[in-house]
């Protein structure tokens, strides 16, 4: 399994994701600097969390124009798999690889906390097929801009195509189950072909042993199972 993690200036979950991947696959993934123009053949590209280019202009907007993005678009066009977490999700929407937009949290504050997610039973996601749709997942979020928005038509299309993968479910200490104001409680979506997954929660922070939950491990495991060639 060939996995590459794309590193932008300001990425700050690249090492965390590398550790998580290695702990599951036994192999250290390649770290690819954003100034690189091409990408060796890979099975999965991961865009980690962080503040690429300081989140200046708009989260993910500048990273979407980095040299590496052409190679990522080619990879996607070949039906390649991509996982974007948090800032990675924002980069995927900014570069047009995923629909919608991630705006500022409703309460205009950064939020870092453990959250309960439900898996959409009707999802067409090709990467998370082995997840149990009846079970919930405990995975933390940590973002300032995770408020998923799309116009009504796009939202309808995403829903009817089964592109919603995860939704926010409940929160022990908050009155609302939705931490950031996302439409339809959306926490993760995928592309029409089911191969590009963007999610706000951080699976690499829920790897069991020392973390509050091991559900991130479960989620990453399902992705690695799906891309095994």
């Amino acid at each position: 399994m060939r996995i590459a993690i794309i590193v932008f200036p300001g990425s700050n979950c690249d090492r965390d994701m590398m550790v998580a991947v290695e702990s599951l696959t036994g192999r250290r993934p390649a770290l690819i600097w954003h100034k690189q123009n091409n990408l060796d053949p890979i099975d999965l590209a991961i865009i980690p969390g962080g503040f690429s280019f300081g989140d200046y202009l708009r989260c993910g907007a500048l990273a979407a124009h980095s040299p590496i993005m052409n190679a990522l678009h080619d990879h996607a066009a070949r039906g390649g798999a991509i996982l974007g977490v948090c800032n990675g999700f924002q980069i995927l929407t900014e570069s047009g690889m995923l629909p919608g937009f991630l705006g500022r949290n409703q309460e205009l504050k950064f939020i870092c906390k453990q959250i309960t997610l439900s898996v959409n039973g009707a999802t067409n996601c090709a990467l998370t097929g082995s997840l149990d749709h009846k079970q919930t997942l405990q995975i933390p979020i940590a973002h300032n801009e995770g408020n998923f928005f799309a116009d009504a038509e796009t939202l309808n299309r995403i829903e009817s195509n089964g592109q919603v993968v995860l939704r926010y479910k409940s929160d022990k200490y908050a009155t609302s189950s939705n931490p950031n104001g996302s439409l339809n409680n959306i926490a993760a979506i995928c592309s029409l072909n089911g191969k590009i997954l963007g999610m706000m929660p951080h699976p690499e922070r829920a790897m069991g042993k020392g973390h509050e939950s091991a559900d991130g491990r479960k989620l990453l495991h399902s992705i690695f199972e799906a891309i095994k060639t």
């Binding site: 200036p9 300001g10 550790v19 503040f51 300081g54 939020i111 870092c112 933390p140 940590a142 951080h202």
Partner: protein, 736 residues
């Protein structure tokens, strides 16, 4: 005095120099300084940079110990944690800027302390803070706490270092002068520590990082003066942080250090290019020549004075191995950062600055540092307080009612609203984040973990500075012990009012004496620190606040403790029982919120008992006898138990005291005690008898969602949780 001298003297006074200091500058130079030179002297001799009022007392602190690699005097302290690893840490204040502009003030406070740590060659792995705001219902408090919280978060979250712990206090003495202290902790190899002493005459001096602008000019001097009601007009002296640049600078510096290209490095913090160049030269016993026209600037027509005194953020100065300069240049190009040779190390022991081909400054280096003023300011002994009368304090209300008032009070309620705005998990090594005793962070690639805490109980220090100083160290020590780690060393941030007032100076002198005693007895030397004086507005001083940041280590993080109470455990108190101590309510949180009686002697601190209890708890941890632990501090035993119940989502049934007054027993703030949960009660009893440690059986935990006291009092966890969780926002937002 000539006209020129008179004019310059007026400038000197406006920059904070006294007449005596002005004369001393002139005699060191043998002439009248020009404006740039005067600016450099006044910054280096400011309280902030020279510690002139506190130095005499700081020297009395214990700074050596088995684990100490580098004590005070460098950018940060360094301790050995075994296996070739070192922890680098320091705490620093950003009080004045944060009051003027809370978001940027707090953000740059975090940025500055992070630079102090990675300058030493360490990768930062954790941030903590210690915050003091005015009365919770004061008109500015909501604005200030929102700004400070978002500012701390904006820097830490973006640069990707988890904010894992801290403390928040509200008190009217901070209405016009909040305290924002930030602590950073980094990890390095113990043989790869970088220092600031320049060496090798002729070696290039390189400027790296962000460009220099007109922000924060003379900030160190502002931080050394009292406030008046025009403080907010000083907003232009507050620096603006750029955490993204900070991240690039951190990565570039760490990469450069790994490439063996750095000879000496110093961050440009307070007093910017002035303090960095002077300190590097002074520590190396050498001189430096800098061409100011080569300094990357972002504004035109900056004068020598402005360039030297600017506190623009995210900048570093270093001396680089000339053979390695090209590699260094490549690394900085990769990170898109300025990399500019601006001068060289010289043998002259003078700081020479060139501007437009002319000499803009030519001053000897040594007097700036070695001959900085040092004062033995007069200090009156603090009045000795006697304990408040218990009968005046104890109120005849049910225990559960008192508990509700306390857990909902702004001193004790949950800080979730604050810490959820911090990324406490990035780097994925946080095992215990905010909300527990000490935070615990794994040491990447090993089984070790580092325990971290910041503590100070200001009302104790106000009532009795000596005892309060001891207590701050003792409480930090207990917090580290409670998670199962061994306390190693401290950093301190001494926040006081105007040292020229003898009663304020006494607070400083006496609390430093308390810290000294505690650090010696508990074997936790002081390796770094910061002093913030003149925390006064309109002549009114803050409550004295000597914050202690402590670091501990544990060898196997899988054996770490938690405050979360498990069900079906015995709950016991270690360190006190009804006979040896029936509960200290004088100057307690109970006295403050329930009796509304402030003052009186704080609880006595017996360092020997502290040490004994600490060793006992660690011993129990090492023998797997503890399933949860929490130290007893503000609010007393029942508040501590409530925090454990809420964290574990389990209830408890406990015994009403037979001999002690129940209010004293449940809410007394006796020191050196812990609550632990265990399933090996007999073993605990046996060991406490052998060790001669006071012990008391409190009750049993269960999955029942309530707290039940044997006199029939009962309260549901749900009710307690609701009060605890909403305490802060209810009181804050009401006035926003």
């Amino acid at each position: 005095m000539s006209k020129k001298a008179e004019m310059q003297y007026e400038n000197a006074v406006s920059m904070g120099l006294s007449e005596e200091e002005w004369l001393s500058v002139c005699s060191h130079l043998g002439r009248i300084p020009n404006l740039c030179e005067l600016g450099i002297f006044s910054a280096m001799w400011s309280e902030h940079c020279s510690y002139k009022s506190s130095k005499k007392w700081l020297k009395t602190l214990p700074t050596e110990g088995e684990c100490v690699i580098q004590g005070p005097g460098e950018n940060a302290g360094v301790i050995d944690i075994g296996d070739g690893l070192a922890v680098v840490f320091k705490i620093e204040s950003h009080n004045h800027p944060s009051f003027i502009e809370p978001h940027q003030g707090a953000a740059t406070g975090v940025g500055g302390i992070l630079r102090d740590v990675f300058t030493m060659g360490a990768r930062p792995i954790a941030l903590l803070n210690a915050l003091r705001f005015g009365q919770i219902d004061h008109k500015k408090t909501s604005h200030l706490i929102s700004g400070v919280t978002s500012g701390i978060g904006s820097y830490g979250n973006c640069i990707g270092i988890p904010t894992v712990g801290g403390e928040v206090e509200f008190d009217s003495s901070y209405n016009g002068n909040i305290l924002v202290n930030a602590m950073a902790v980094g990890l390095a190899h113990n043989d790869r520590i970088f220092y600031s002493a320049a060496s090798g005459a002729g070696n290039p001096v390189i400027y790296v990082g962000a460009k220099t602008g007109r922000d924060g000019i003379h900030g160190a001097t502002m931080a050394s003066a009292e406030f008046n009601d025009e403080a907010e007009l000083k907003r232009p002296t507050v620096q603006v942080g750029d955490p993204f640049k900070g991240k690039l600078l951190m990565e570039a510096c760490l990469e450069l250090m790994a490439a063996d290209a750095v000879i000496a490095i110093q961050d440009m913090g307070a007093a910017g290019l002035t303090s960095s160049s002077v300190e590097m030269a002074a520590k190396g016993g050498l001189g430096m020549e800098i061409d100011l026209d080569l300094v990357p600037v972002r504004e035109t027509n900056m004068t020598a004075y402005e360039i030297m005194l600017s506190e623009s953020q995210e900048r570093m100065l270093m001396v680089v191995n000339p053979n390695q300069a090209e590699i260094a240049q490549q690394i900085f190009n990769k990170w898109d950062l300025d990399f500019m040779p601006i001068g060289k190390v010289t043998e002259t022991d003078r700081l020479v600055l060139l501007k437009e081909g002319k000499i803009a400054c030519d001053i000897p280096v040594a007097p700036l540092v070695d001959n900085a003023p040092e004062y033995d300011r007069p200090h009156l002994s603090s009045e000795i307080q006697i304990a408040a009368n218990i009968n005046d304090i104890v109120q005849k209300i049910p225990i559960t009612e008192a508990l509700k008032i306390l857990v909902g009070s702004e001193d004790l309620c949950s800080r979730r609203w604050v810490y959820e705005q911090y990324d406490s998990q990035v780097m994925a090594d946080t095992i215990v984040g905010p909300g527990g005793d000490a935070a615990l962070v794994r040491v990447y690639g090993t089984k070790k973990a580092i325990a971290l805490t910041t503590d100070c109980t200001t009302r104790y220090v106000e009532a009795d500075p000596f005892s309060g100083g001891k207590q701050a160290v003792a409480e930090a020590y207990r917090n580290i012990i409670a998670v199962g780690a061994t306390p190693l060393a401290i950093t301190n941030n001494l926040n006081f009012g105007n040292p020229e007032k003898p009663e304020i100076m006494a607070q400083l002198v006496e609390s430093v004496a308390g810290i000294k005693d505690a650090c010696i007895q508990l074997s936790t030397p002081v390796v770094s620190g910061n002093v913030s004086l003149y925390n006064e507005t309109e002549g009114r001083a803050i409550k004295p606040c000597p914050v202690i940041g402590m670091v501990g280590v544990m060898d196997d993080w899988e054996k770490s403790g938690t405050i979360a109470l498990p069900s079906d455990n015995d709950i016991v108190i270690i360190g006190q029982n009804e006979k040896n101590n029936s509960g200290w309510l004088s100057n307690s949180t109970y006295a403050k919120f329930i009796s509304k009686k402030l003052g009186g002697a704080p609880p006595p601190v017996d360092l020997n008992s502290e040490l004994k209890a600490g060793k006992f708890i660690l011993d129990c941890y090492h023998n797997d006898l503890i399933n949860a632990a929490h130290d007893i501090s503000d609010g007393g035993m029942l508040v501590a138990l409530t925090e454990m119940m809420l964290a574990g989502n389990n209830g408890a049934e406990i015994i009403h005291p037979k001999e002690a007054d129940p209010h004293c027993w449940f809410f007394g703030e006796n020191q050196s005690s812990y609550i632990i949960a265990t399933t090996k009660l007999k073993e605990i009893i046996k060991r406490s008898e052998n060790a001669n440690i006071p012990f008391s059986y409190l009750g049993r935990s269960s999955s029942t969602q309530e707290l039940k006291i044997s006199n029939g009092d009962i309260i549901s966890l749900k009710e307690l949780q609701n009060i605890y969780e909403t305490g802060l926002t209810k009181q804050l937002l009401q006035f926003s």
